[in-house]
C-alpha cells in the first residue's frame, strides 16, 4: 500500500531500485491447510523488514519458500532478481538463512562449524581459516571457538548461527524468529547485531511474533494472519491506520474489571481490549470528551483507577484491531 513512498528514497540506479525480495500471490498448501494463502511482498534493498504474526500464521512457511526450502504451490517470487522456482541455485548464492532452530552442528566446535561452511562456499586453506576467525572475533566468540557448540548458551548459539550466515555477505539475510527463547540481554545483543548488519548494507527479512521486536527493528512491517497479509507499512503508519485516541485504564482492583468494561461499553463504541494480565482495559475513544465522560462514569461508580492515559495504540492493539481479535501475539513473560 505504500510502495511508491519507499521507492523514492532509494538510489535511482536500476539494480538498486529492484526490490531485494518480491513475491506475487504466493500459496503453500499442506493438505487441506492453506499455510500461505496468496501473499504479495516487496522488500526494498538495505532495509530491515519484519513479517509479524502469531504462531501458525504462515510466517515460517513464507520465508522457507523465499529461501528455496519449500516449493510454492502457486504464485511467483524472486530474490535479488533471481526466480525462486526457475533459478533456485542463484537464489541460494545470494541469500543466507538462519532458521528458527539453530542450524549448527552441536558436536563440532564453533570454529569447526564456521570452517565447514567456509569450505562449502569454496574458501580454501588459509582463507577459510581467516574467514572463520574473523567472524568469531566480530561476534566475540573467539574465546569459545574451540568449544563444542552443545556447551554454548542460547545467546552464543544465536550469534554463531548469525555469523554462519555471513561467511559470504548475503544480498538478503533471512532470520526466522531470531530472538525466540533468548533472555533479555541476549535479545538486546541480537537486536544490536541485526542493526549493525543492516547498517553495513545487508537486506534483512525477519519473522517475529513480538510486536516490540518489529517496532524496535523494522523499517517496514507486514502483518500476517492465517496465511494472508492483513496490513503493511511502517510501525507509525500501522498505528495511524488503527486510529489514535486510545484510552487505556488500569484498575486498582482487578476484580471489578467486568463492571468497568460494561461502563466503558456504555460510553464508547470501540471494541474493548483486555490486557492479558487482566487489570488493564484499552478502547478506542472517538474524542477526548467521550474519553473524559467514560472516566467520569468509572469514578462515579467508585471504581478506583491505578492509572489512565490517552495515547496512540500499541502495536499489539493494532494487531488486535486488524485481526478482529482472532490472533494472539506472543507475549513475553514478565520481566523478560
Amino acid at each position: 500500500m505504500n510502495d511508491a513512498v519507499h521507492m523514492t528514497n532509494l538510489q535511482s540506479r536500476d539494480e538498486r531500485t529492484l526490490p531485494a525480495v518480491s513475491a506475487r500471490g504466493l500459496v503453500k498448501r499442506f493438505g487441506e491447510l492453506r499455510a500461505v494463502d496468496g501473499i504479495d511482498l516487496d522488500v526494498p534493498r538495505g532495509m530491515i523488514f519484519a513479517i509479524l504474526g502469531p504462531n501458525g500464521a504462515g510466517k515460517t512457511t513464507l520465508m522457507r519458500m523465499l529461501a528455496t526450502l519449500l516449493t510454492p504451490d502457486d504464485g511467483s517470487a524472486s530474490v535479488m532478481g533471481h526466480d525462486v522456482i526457475a533459478a533456485p541455485h542463484d537464489v541460494r548464492a545470494s541469500i543466507a538463512m538462519t532458521g528458527q532452530f539453530a542450524s549448527l552442528d552441536e558436536d563440532l566446535t564453533g570454529r569447526e562449524n564456521l570452517l565447514l561452511l567456509a569450505r562449502l562456499w569454496g574458501f580454501r586453506g588459509r582463507s577459510a581459516k581467516d574467514r572463520a576467525d574473523n567472524l568469531l572475533a566480530a561476534f566475540e566468540l573467539s574465546d569459545a571457538a574451540g568449544r563444542q557448540v552443545k556447551t554454548y548458551s542460547g545467546g552464543m548459539r544465536r550469534r554463531l548461527d548469525i555469523a554462519a550466515s555471513l561467511i559470504v555477505t548475503p544480498g538478503v539475510l533471512f532470520l526466522d524468529e531470531p530472538t525466540t527463547g533468548l533472555d533479555p540481554n541476549a535479545r538486546q545483543s541480537v537486536w544490536r547485531m541485526i542493526r549493525a548488519l543492516a547498517d553495513s548494507g545487508v537486506t534483512i527479512l525477519l519473522t517475529t511474533q513480538y510486536l516490540d521486536e518489529a517496532d524496535q527493528l523494522a523499517a517496514r512491517i507486514a502483518v500476517i494472519d492465517k496465511g494472508r497479509k492483513i496490513a503493511e507499512g511502517t510501525s507509525r503508519e500501522l498505528k495511524a491506520a488503527t486510529g489514535s485516541g486510545f484510552l487505556h485504564v488500569a484498575l486498582a482492583d482487578p476484580a471489578r474489571l467486568a463492571e468497568a468494561e460494561a461502563i466503558l461499553a456504555c460510553h464508547l463504541t470501540g471494541t474493548i481490549q483486555r490486557s492479558p494480565e487482566g487489570a488493564q482495559l484499552s478502547v478506542m475513544a472517538g474524542s477526548t470528551d467521550a474519553a473524559s465522560q467514560a472516566i467520569a462514569a468509572l469514578i462515579a461508580a467508585r471504581i478506583e483507577l491505578a492509572d489512565f492515559s490517552m495515547g496512540s495504540p500499541s502495536l499489539e492493539e493494532v494487531f488486535f484491531a486488524l485481526t478482529g481479535g482472532s490472533g494472539r501475539l506472543g507475549k513475553r513473560e514478565k520481566g523478560d
Binding site: 519449500l70 528458527q100 549448527l104 558436536d107 569450505r119 569454496g122 566480530a138
Partner: protein, 273 residues
C-alpha cells in the same frame, strides 16, 4: 554475556564476495571431513558400535560354539566372517540416526540453502559409514585373530572381504538414509531399523548352517541377502569364493542403490517436510 556493540561489529564486518564456486567433489570432501570430526568429538559412537559385535563374538564362540560346531575354535572359524557382516549391517542404522538428528535440528536447512551440490551431504554420510565399517571391522578381526581365528586366504582374502563388506554397507546404508529422511526422531529410526534387521540377520547363515531349520525357514535363509553376503565373505576369507558368490552378494546392495538413491534425492528435494 559480553555486550556486543554494534559499532564494533559494523567495523569488523567486511563485505565478502563468494570465492570461485567449488566442485561437487570438493563439497563432498568437506562433508567427509565433518564425518571425521564427528569421530573425534563423539568417540562414544564407536563404543556402541563395537560393543555389540564383541559381545556376540564372545558369547556365541564360548557359550554356544562348542555345542554348535563341536569346538569353540571350529565355531569361531565359521562365525567370525558372519559377525563382520552383522556389524556392517547394524552399523548402517547409525547414519540414518545421524541424518534424522541433523534434519530435526535444522542443520540441513542451512545446507539446503547453500549453493552446493545437493547430494554432497549424503556423500559425507557415506564417508562416515565407510570409516565406521573399517574401524569396527578391524577391531573385530583383531579380536578374532587373538582368539585363534585364521583366514585361510591370508591378507589378500581379508582385503577382498573388507572391500565386499564396504559395498554391502554402502548398499544397506540407503535403507537407513531413506528412513532417516522420513522419520523425524532418531530413536524411532533406530527402532524401525533394528525391527527390520533382526529377522534378516538371525534368519540367515551368520550364526548357524541352516540344515536343521524347518523347510520354509531354510527356503528364506537361502535367498536372504544377508546369507548371500555372509557366504561370499566367508568364501573370500577362506579362499573358496567363486565369482558367482561375490556377484550374488552384490546383487542386493546394487539393487538397493539403484532403487533408493533416486528416492533419497527425491525425498531430499521434495523439501515439503
Amino acid at each position: 554475556m559480553t555486550d556486543l556493540s554494534s559499532a564494533a561489529l559494523s567495523a569488523r564486518l567486511e563485505m565478502v564476495a563468494p570465492p570461485k564456486a567449488p566442485s561437487a567433489f570438493s563439497n563432498a570432501l568437506v562433508f567427509g571431513w565433518r564425518a571425521i570430526l564427528k569421530f573425534k568429538h563423539v568417540p562414544e559412537q564407536l563404543f556402541d558400535l563395537v560393543m555389540t559385535p564383541i559381545m556376540f563374538t564372545l558369547l556365541f564362540t564360548f557359550v554356544f560354539g562348542g555345542a554348535l560346531a563341536g569346538s569353540t575354535s571350529a565355531y569361531l572359524q565359521f562365525f567370525l566372517p558372519g559377525i563382520l557382516v552383522q556389524t556392517v549391517v547394524f552399523n548402517a542404522v547409525y547414519s540414518g540416526m545421524g541424518l534424522s538428528t541433523d534434519l530435526g535440528k535444522g542443520l540441513f536447512d542451512r545446507f539446503r540453502s547453500l549453493p552446493i551440490w545437493s547430494l554432497a551431504p549424503f556423500a559425507g554420510l557415506m564417508v562416515g559409514d565407510v570409516l565406521r565399517h573399517l574401524i569396527a571391522g578391524a577391531i573385530i578381526l583383531t579380536i578374532g585373530l587373538t582368539l585363534g581365528y585364521r583366514p585361510e586366504a591370508g591378507i589378500p582374502g581379508v582385503i577382498a572381504a573388507f572391500a565386499l563388506l564396504l559395498a554391502v554397507g554402502f548398499g544397506m546404508g540407503w535403507i537407513f538414509i531413506v528412513l532417516g529422511l522420513l522419520i523425524r526422531t532418531p530413536t524411532t529410526v533406530m527402532t524401525a531399523g533394528f525391527t527390520f534387521l533382526f529377522p534378516l540377520v538371525f534368519a540367515s547363515n551368520i550364526m548357524v548352517e541352516p540344515q536343521t531349520m524347518p523347510g520354509w525357514l531354510r527356503a528364506f535363509v537361502d535367498v536372504n541377502p544377508v546369507s548371500l553376503m555372509t557366504s561370499a565373505i566367508r568364501g573370500l576369507m577362506a579362499g573358496q569364493a567363486s565369482l558367482n558368490d561375490v556377484l550374488m552378494a552384490l546383487l542386493a546392495p546394487a539393487l538397493l542403490t539403484l532403487l533408493l538413491a533416486p528416492v533419497t534425492l527425491w525425498l531430499y528435494r521434495r523439501s515439503d517436510r
